[in-house]
């Protein structure tokens, strides 16, 4: 407790941080909760179990899950290549991974739509093979993959860098081939980081709006994600309906956030304890 007396500014910094957090985050979120609760159980249930809402959950979760899985596999591949191999342009590739964090989602949205649309560079070929991407669920998956791309790479990279090569040497000297070493030695060590990256990418995808709204076509029951449904309820001044759906998403985000924190804790302990 002595350090509390030596270093000044405890009251000021904590007081300010708490006040600011309450004003910006806590009170407005409480307003959402209050608005959702004020509906009463029956109305709330009627809104959140409406077929259009259920269709939007299925699409939002389904597309986010597929996108997060794509990112899980390719994120591991990209992290592996960036950590283990040397090749020309590696630093540029490494910096580029963060592009989805830096590029505004609306820009990503129109670029992907133009790319996968009927006359787009990719779209014209895909469509001639009978694949419709833009204005179809596949387009949503493409946008969500873009948005979530950095997460798995950035959570796996530091863990991969920190792994001791001696473990692999030991496995090899005990007669394991490369694939066995990867499956039995490397992969288990990477699992917490992979899961964390997967969950982060999934959480980001479920809430995403800007990039999806352009490429999805926004047809109710078919290509309407939950955030978009909330948006259209707001545009019709249906605050109560928007709040009910918003609360569902908020609860989900909160649960996912707790899961991610748990995973990160597990991951750190794994790394620390070896």
């Amino acid at each position: 407790m002595s350090r509390n007396r030596v270093i000044p500014g405890f009251g000021l910094s904590l007081g300010y941080a708490t006040l600011y957090t309450s004003l910006i985050v806590f009170i407005p979120l409480a307003a959402l909760a209050a608005s959702g609760i004020s509906l009463g159980a029956e109305t709330f249930w009627a809104v959140v179990s409406h077929p259009q809402a259920v269709a939007s959950y299925t699409l939002s979760f389904g597309a986010s899950l597929v996108a997060a899985l794509i990112n899980l596999i390719f994120g591991l591949l990209v992290a592996w290549v960036l950590v283990r191999y040397t090749f020309p342009g590696k630093r540029i590739a490494d910096a580029l991974v963060d592009l989805p964090f830096a590029l505004p989602t609306a820009v990503a949205g129109i670029a992907l739509t133009a790319l996968y649309g009927r006359n787009g560079w990719f779209g014209q070929h895909l469509e001639s093979w009978g694949f419709k991407v833009a204005y179809a669920p596949a387009g949503i998956v493409v946008a969500l993959t873009f948005i979530g791309l950095p997460f798995v790479v950035r959570t796996v990279q530091p863990v991969l860098e920190g792994l001791e090569r001696e473990l692999e040497e030991a496995a090899a000297s005990l007669g394991a081939n490369r694939w066995q070493t990867f499956r039995r030695v490397l992969l288990p060590a990477l699992v917490p980081a992979l899961l964390t990256g997967f969950a982060l990418s999934f959480a980001r995808a479920v809430g995403e709006y800007g990039s999806v709204v352009f490429i999805s076509g926004n047809m109710p029951y078919r290509t309407e994600i939950t955030p978009l449904l909330i948006y259209s309820k707001l545009e019709q001044y249906d605050y109560a309906g928007a709040s009910a759906l918003g609360m569902m998403m908020l609860v989900f985000s909160f649960v996912l956030l707790l899961a991610i924190n748990g995973l990160q804790y597990w991951s750190l302990r794994r790394r620390g304890g070896g």
Partner: protein
């Protein structure tokens, strides 16, 4: 350490173990090609397309789209939103990191979770919560109307939504950094008679400057690029409450594709500058760390 180990082993062993801890050349090549193809398809091609489409009608159309009054207004509003949101979140980030890392208190975890929440919440919900507080049917709506103040569908709402979505950036960057550094240096300065402010300026700030800048750059990129949250609270009043990303949307929905991509190319350029600055800061931070490690090692030896 591993370098020492392998130089101690016999030459024959080195060859065996090197082959055993890396992949065959063809497999390495294949994996690199796959990874680069993935990054190319998902990142490079869309980025190139933005610039290609922006210039599809030539230089003059490009410049016309950027110098149009509505575009200028959008630039101004974007700068105002980021210009307010970033400093606010910097002050908060420093205060939060200071209290969370230099002191022990109860409820720490609650504060950390609240700081993380804006990252997990959908941008649409970020807009929605302010509509519920300040909108015409919200908690403060009637009072605001009585006093002729408007927040939703006006500039203050845009600033608030931007503050919310960029809320964690600086704090999240500083907390682990300051945690790692501990309190011993500050304690030393204080016992030598420095004031609290002097200690912060001369001791803490220099050691967190790269992390702080890093947080500011990411915070700024998100603040200028935010779409969903700002879209909910803006009301889309052309030339009044449109930020750059919203202006892109309007142009796109009006089928003015070249103009939409021209404005988008400005935002894409901002993203590229952000990535370059970010890599530079990471390099600086890494170098400072290595120097500190060297200095510590030298001290230990002497």
């Amino acid at each position: 350490m591993s370098g020492v180990m392998s130089s101690l082993s016999t030459p024959g062993n080195v060859v065996v173990s090197r082959r055993a801890v890396t992949e065959a050349a063809w497999l390495r090549g294949l994996l690199i090609a796959l990874a680069l193809a993935f990054l190319g398809v998902f990142l490079v091609v869309p980025l190139v397309l933005v610039f290609q489409e922006a210039f599809s009608k030539g230089w003059q159309a490009y410049l016309a789209a950027l110098t149009e009054p509505d575009a200028w207004h959008a630039v101004k509003l974007t700068l105002i939103a980021a210009g307010l949101a970033v400093p606010l979140n910097v002050v908060f980030g420093v205060a939060a990191a200071w209290s969370l890392t230099k002191f022990h208190f109860r409820g720490k975890q609650v504060l950390i979770t609240l700081i993380d929440l804006p990252f997990a919440v959908s941008p649409v919900i970020a807009g929605l919560i302010y509509v519920l507080v300040f909108g015409s049917r919200g908690w403060l709506g009637p009072w605001l109307e009585e006093h002729n103040l408007s927040i939703i569908y006006a500039v203050p709402g845009i600033v608030l939504a931007t503050v919310f979505v960029t809320f964690p950036f600086v704090a999240r960057e500083l907390i682990p950094l300051m945690q790692e550094q501990g309190v011993s240096q500050e304690e030393a300065a204080l016992t030598l008679g420095a004031s609290g402010w002097q200690t912060f300026r001369r001791v803490t700030l220099p050691s967190i400057k790269w992390g702080l800048l890093y947080g500011i750059i990411l915070c700024n990129a998100r603040a200028m690029g935010e779409f969903g949250a700002v879209s909910v609270v803006s009301g889309h009043i052309r030339g009044k409450t449109n930020t750059l990303p919203l202006h892109v949307e309007i142009l796109y929905n009006e089928y003015q594709f070249a103009a939409a991509f021209a404005v988008a190319s400005m935002l894409a350029l901002l993203a590229v500058v952000t990535l370059v600055a970010k890599s530079f800061l990471e390099f600086k931070h890494q170098r400072d760390r290595e120097r500190a490690a060297h200095a510590a090692a030298r001290q230990e030896v002497s």
